[in-house]
Amino acid sequence: MNPLNQLIEAALFSAARPVTVEELASLDPDANVADARSALDQLRETYDFNQHAIEIVELAGGYQILTRPQFAAALERAQLHVRTPKLTAAALETMAVIAYRQPVGRAEIEEIRGVSAGGVLRTLQERGLIEVVGRSEGMGRPMLYGTTMHFLEMLGLTDLTDLPRSDELTIALQPPKPLEPEDDDAEASVPAES
């Protein structure tokens, strides 16, 4: 294995969080982002080819070494790993609204779900899945919520564009706000009509 691959393996192993490709590239003064990427690919292939129990997963804007899914049950049985408690339906729904409408205030969340959201918002905040990202200009300047990095990590998403697009949903009513650069292109063509 070449030295850069080893360095990156060491970094991914020692970090208990996703590490960005820029961070990985900075490990070696002579390496750039492209080198880090190709090293990641080689490592990934090594793990796959040799049937390692771990793999390199792209997650929350970075890379992380994770065990492969087939070992989860055994590890939990042996109590080497404790599963975090499941989120309630109310918490999941609230998180869904925030993920698509962020930054979004409590009133809008409650309007969409038809129930008060105070307790659920607090729970989600305590678990680090959402955070206050600003204040609205409206009356009383209510707090606006958005999702966190931990939200992406917990769902195994690279970024918010990994959320299902409206056309992938059976009910497509309110498309999520444009998140991808390609949406900008689409918007750029709109003013021509107006």
């Binding site: 065990t67 590890l75 790993h81 990590e153 195994g156 009910i171 497509a172 009513l173």
Partner: protein, 249 residues
């Protein structure tokens, strides 16, 4: 309109035969969707009258405090029911379906539910892959075991001792109660005066031992009938009087 739909939906429950667990719903919209799905009704053409009745019947089982959100929805449904009953003037044109807002909200909520299910699966899927566990900050490491020679220890002891200016040694001397001396002092006082006060019996600047010695002496003399101890009034100074003329001592 509602009649025809009720006819196609015979699932409308009879009295008492309709039990729904409300805590299983995450809100009034969830409950509405459930009622619609159960009877395979279209959201877009919601039979307000029958759904409103079922909704009310269902939330009846719930305590009022928890049901606030449900009651608000019940109110909306009843208003819609009334609006649907009002005669429409100028038929088709200009008539806006009063259910439109509710239908929009239901569809929107259904989308939220769908996404939340997708998220739940995502979380499950991700939870099956384990990263390195969270490492708590290292605990305070205990100091490494001491390794030294005997000579070093002795030198250290020497250094500590040399720091002490002059060793101050105390001998602890037991100071027993001196009842005899106290008795003699009281007897001397009583020879001069027939009555003395408690404070008189104590010498100047009495120590704790003096006080105890004097007290024991007084009690002993009183027991022997040599003195009489009197307190004229509650909290008044205690008076010690000569009891007999026989020689005290």
């Amino acid at each position: 309109m509602t009649d025809t739909i009720q006819a196609t939906a015979p699932a409308v429950p009879g009295e008492g035969g309709f039990v729904v667990r409300l805590d299983g719903f995450s809100g009034p919209l969830d409950l509405l969707l459930h009622l619609l799905r159960e009877q395979q009704l279209e959201i877009a053409d919601i039979p307000i009258a029958s759904i409103a009745d079922q909704f009310l019947k269902t939330i009846d089982a719930l305590g009022l405090n928890e049901a606030a959100d449900y009651l608000e929805m019940a109110g909306r449904l009843l208003r819609l029911k009334v609006q649907m009953l009002l005669p429409r003037h100028g038929e088709e044109e200009g008539w806006e379906d009063p259910r439109a807002e509710l239908v929009r909200r239901l569809l929107e909520y259904q989308q939220v539910k769908e996404i939340s299910l997708w998220m739940e699966q995502g979380i499950e899927h991700r939870a099956a892959r384990l990263g390195r566990g969270y490492l708590p900050p290292a605990p305070e490491v205990p100091p490494a075991p001491l390794t030294f020679e005997l000579l070093e220890l002795l030198q250290a002891v020497e250094r500590v001792i040399s720091g002490i200016a002059t060793p101050v040694l105390h001998r602890v001397v037991p100071r027993p109660l001196n009842v005899e001396a106290a008795t003699a002092r009281i007897a001397a006082l009583l020879r001069e005066r027939p009555r003395i006060s408690w404070l008189d019996t104590l010498g100047p600047k009495p120590t704790l031992t003096d006080v105890l010695s004097t007290l024991l002496a007084l009690l002993e003399m009183a027991r022997r009938g040599v003195v009489r101890i009197v307190q004229p009034a509650p909290f008044a100074p205690i008076v010690i009087a000569r009891e007999s003329t026989e020689p005290i001592n």
